[in-house]
Subunit: 460 residues, 3 copies
């Protein structure tokens, strides 16, 4: 199978030559080697361990999205948000195991991989586990444990699904959302992945997207936008006189916790996307990735906070919180740049764009509860283009990638949402929306002992 | 000392042979080796680093149990829950240092290890730290840093203690609980550990429990069950007419956060239980473990959610949350299976069993606040038996292990709880229980600025 | 550049000799070597990965401080607390990139490093990334990726800034605090760092501070104390009759979550401060560090809890929570001791000192909202002196270090706070303080749907 083709192979081949020379040197007594390179099996362990450790951190982002979303909505919907996020992470993992990974990475032609069901260790790995030590060489040759890669890729597809959840909060039916999640994670995301990281036509053109500004965040953002258009805004969000009903988060601390979790998880998201850790080159590159990731997020926060006074008329806390996400998404397509100052600039522009987009979306009467479209889609586009500035991307190719992924994901998602609407309806009834999904759908209040404010008036 | 004997040694010896061949090859110019194996000292670093990284994640589970429990109880008891969990983690670490580890792993005969107090680095390690570079060879020979193993084992004993805490919430006296924690972590758990991972009689029979479905979760579950029986149900939980008083969680988001933390920590719990990371074989096995862990949890969530409509009469959020734990516990005895589909099935059955058990316990008028017995004990038993399906366990031996551990832990725990009851009383007074432990025992409300609902009526 | 000079070089040189011998042995057929040492490039990867993984955990401490602080204050200020912490972490990262790291580690004379702006990969690293494989040897020679070290050091400076935040909560102006944060992280902390870890005059005298009891926690604590004195106590905290107005935390569970996050992060803080992971010696030392860190924290909790009955007149939850931090800070200067019992004792004394200091500060009418001075400054001093007991520190040198850092940080911080007060004022108006900073400064309530208690009476 082929995965995230570009940098994996270029990195790997460099190592192999170095090692070959080294071994020759040791055998024939050459003393001219200043250092000893990483052994092949050691490299295998490094690569695998890197996938597992960073993958675990990316899984943690699922909790970050949950906290961010549960804190953003009104308390009467917080339980459903929690269950929706727990469910989507579970569904994403199962769907990606059932078919998604094969579609994305196995026998990819230009557009799509294999329709074979399930996935598992390689035959060599099974032989090795079965006790055949002679299989070690063949296993080591593959560079990393097959399922460590699966694990790392799986947490990425879950991230894409998490993005959709937040935008549609407070009015989408839980089971309808789950059906869409299955479609997104079994089919839509894997096909986009096949075109790119799987080695398909976009990869062939030289499209660059290190950790997924477009592939993950763009896909999630387009799917969210399609969903928002089909599902429609929350009751009373946009008044007849054109004004916007403010819907402040019910729990600011939870939102903040969510942002910190996402920031932490992003070190795994971007750092682990170096994919290999078997040479000094890899280690240097991964370090640069971590630093750029942090700088872009920090710049996003400060820029959004400073700009918010000008754009939104006040020091806006949520601009700052979204600014962190915006900076992170913006740097995700090219976090391996070596001029760190560029990552500050890229993150800062992301923070600015996100703050502007929040305002623009409201003007367009698009109700995106957590700002998923501004933070993930708009900044995903910006980040994918920014690769041309500091990381050598080709503008035309990057644009083609953005448009192709956008068209594919948006159209398919829109159709999927429409289909689900016909079959199951995507939106809860007005009564349920007024009462809150927690009581109506789950018969569970999120905070039953705390007295809530009287229901806000809702315009219909 | 001997630890988790079975797989450690089988893995290790495989490596040694490979390496010996390799070194010979290098020395005598043999060019037939397709790859270079992991060096001994590199292997030592890998094994140690793996223990430390995954051990840190397991420590994080203590926070997960705390959030889950603090969110599950009524707000009037949330502070005590927090303090109880902080205290139990501290006590477990100190007790395991004082005596527990020695009892479990040092000079284990069939039934018990050493009664020597305290634990520390090996003599070779002390020499090496003291500057004697010649000690390196002997240190490296042991395979991992002595205290990295201690660290990893310590966070496991804390997990067992955490399980007990949740079941007894809202009526157990804090100091009495601390005394029981000390007994559990200094003696009961270490003895069970000596029989199994320490190389005692159950290990000798071939009992398999990779990361502790029985050893950790079963032990915690049995101790919890004994405690629940001695302490009794919360006032008013079971009404005279036979109906059950619903006690919804006070904070659903906290419970969800707790589940996500536990899920993340479980990657360390199961992944780190591979114990070694010094070869491609180990790396492959650890990767499979991570994947199975995630699949089982996901299957547990979805199954419990789907079944809850049928078993509990509604889409039940807490069935889903407990389903994650159930799936995780179920796969813990054999997460190294290579047919990942089995882990989906094992997790799904776990989710079903847990949901059924929640209902069964209520019928038996056993008041287990967080569902510790269903999730940890019932699924621990199921997981230990499931090893026979896909991971080569012997049914008879697994059953003997389950019964022996169950009998030992339950009886000793029951006696310990009874003894503590005589000496200190285990239960708070009715007045304290009505008022809440926070105000009565700590003079601290968990959420003093939030207005609470009027006290629910309590039947006496 | 030079960094944390002492132990890095002593460790590294030991490795080099071992490896040189080994390579000679392999080349000339010596069969007397019992093991194969870590290769140079493998060592490079280990060191770098260790920095990145543990650094990510230390970043997580920023979330811990946020939760601890947001839970400690009254709800009317919780949003500002969240924003302040998100902002300080961002500013610290940018300031340390702009100038801080250079000032601390580049071309350090006795007192200060370079005033060059920005920081980035080495020329060799840039060559290697640019495709020049011949640069590998030079890169490997440096021992770790340059930016992995920057990443690890950056999260430390953020920790120092976080400490200041908590002490000043509920009355400091957000933007004034941000200005101080920039000064602290760009200049004050880096100069202290240059004296010590940067190889300056204190390092030359043999001052020992493994992970920063004085350098990080002392610096943060002194800066906090200066701020508290300039900003003054909260309105009504100290009544005219000399009594103290109790200000219980608004959310005990959040405080507890914060403590667990800090405890977890501290494994990165102390463990990663071993700085290298390229030999069995390093791995053994890092393991001991982790164990001591955990034991000291546990002892701090239990001691503080037990002592609180005697010192504060009740089983005090916050004494216990602060006891964990106290134990952690106390062991931070010397967590590499090999007699683990000492770490229990050092942590226990820390827990006691912290509890006593909380009471003493109140008597001195110093209003430190989260107990930053007791936990970080007092225990930082104790920990720095405790190095003389079990880790070979020289008492005179340690004392000089404590006093020099204290005088420098306190005086500069005091001047900085005074200057900011003149230019921007440091304190919100009485009206804002009464109303709460959330509504007044941000127009955002932290928990808008929850009904709050009527405003407490405030004495003026």
């Amino acid at each position: 199978m082929i995965r995230r083709v570009g940098h994996l192979f270029s990195d790997r081949s460099g190592i192999s030559i170095t090692r070959a020379l080294l071994i020759l040197g040791l055998l024939f007594g050459g003393a001219s080697f200043a250092y000893a390179a990483v052994d092949e099996e050691t490299l295998f362990v490094f690569n695998t361990f890197s996938f597992l450790v960073w993958g675990a951190l990316v899984m943690w982002m699922a909790a970050g999205f949950t906290m961010l979303e549960a804190g953003s909505v009104r308390t009467k919907n917080a339980s459903v948000i929690c269950l929706k996020n727990l469910g989507l992470y579970s569904i994403a993992g199962l769907a990606y195991y059932l078919i998604g990974y094969n579609l994305m990475y196995v026998d990819v032609g230009g557009f799509i991989g294999s329709f074979k069901l399930l996935y598992g260790p390689s035959a060599d790995e099974l032989a090795l586990i079965g006790g055949d030590a002679a299989a070690t060489a063949a296993v080591v040759e593959s560079g990393y444990a097959v399922m460590s890669d699966w694990f790392f890729q799986m947490v990425f597809v879950a991230t894409a699904a998490s993005i959709v959840s937040g935008a549609l909060a407070e009015r989408v039916k839980m089971w309808s959302f789950f059906v869409f999640t299955a479609i997104l994670t079994a089919i839509i995301y894997p096909v986009v992945g096949a075109w790119t990281w799987g080695g398909g036509w976009l990869a062939g053109m030289g499209f660059q997207d290190f950790a997924g500004s477009t592939i993950v965040h763009g896909t999630g953002g387009w799917a969210a936008l399609a969903g928002v258009l089909v599902v429609g805004p929350r009751l009373g969000k946009f008044r007849k006189d054109g004004s916007v009903h403010a819907t402040p988060p019910s729990n600011v601390v939870l939102v903040t916790l969510g942002v910190f979790i996402l920031w932490l998880g992003w070190f795994g998201f971007n750092g682990g996307s170096q994919l290999v850790l078997g040479s000094a080159l890899d280690a240097v590159a991964m370090s640069n990735v971590m630093v750029n990731t942090n700088l872009a997020a920090a710049a996003g926060v400060i820029t959004a906070l400073a700009c918010s006074r000008w754009i939104l008329g006040r020091t806006d806390m949520f601009a700052a919180l979204n600014g962190a996400i915006a900076g992170l998404v913006s740097i995700t397509a090219g976090p391996d740049i070596t001029q760190h100052l560029w990552s500050v600039i890229i993150g800062a522009v992301g923070g600015l764009l996100c703050t502007l987009s929040i305002k623009a979306l409201e003007k367009m009467k698009i109700d995106d509860v957590v700002g998923a479209v501004p933070a993930h889609l708009i900044c995903g586009i910006w980040g994918t283009l920014a690769v041309c500035i500091a990381a050598g991307g080709n503008f035309g190719v990057q644009l083609i990638g953005i448009l192709a992924v956008g068209a594919f994901v948006f159209v398919l998602s829109f159709l999927a949402w429409k289909l689900i609407d016909v079959l199951l309806t995507v939106r809860v009834t007005k009564n349920v929306e007024r009462m809150g999904q927690d009581t109506a759908e789950l018969k569970i209040d999120a905070y039953p002992e705390f007295v809530l404010m009287p229901e806000e008036d809702i315009e219909e």
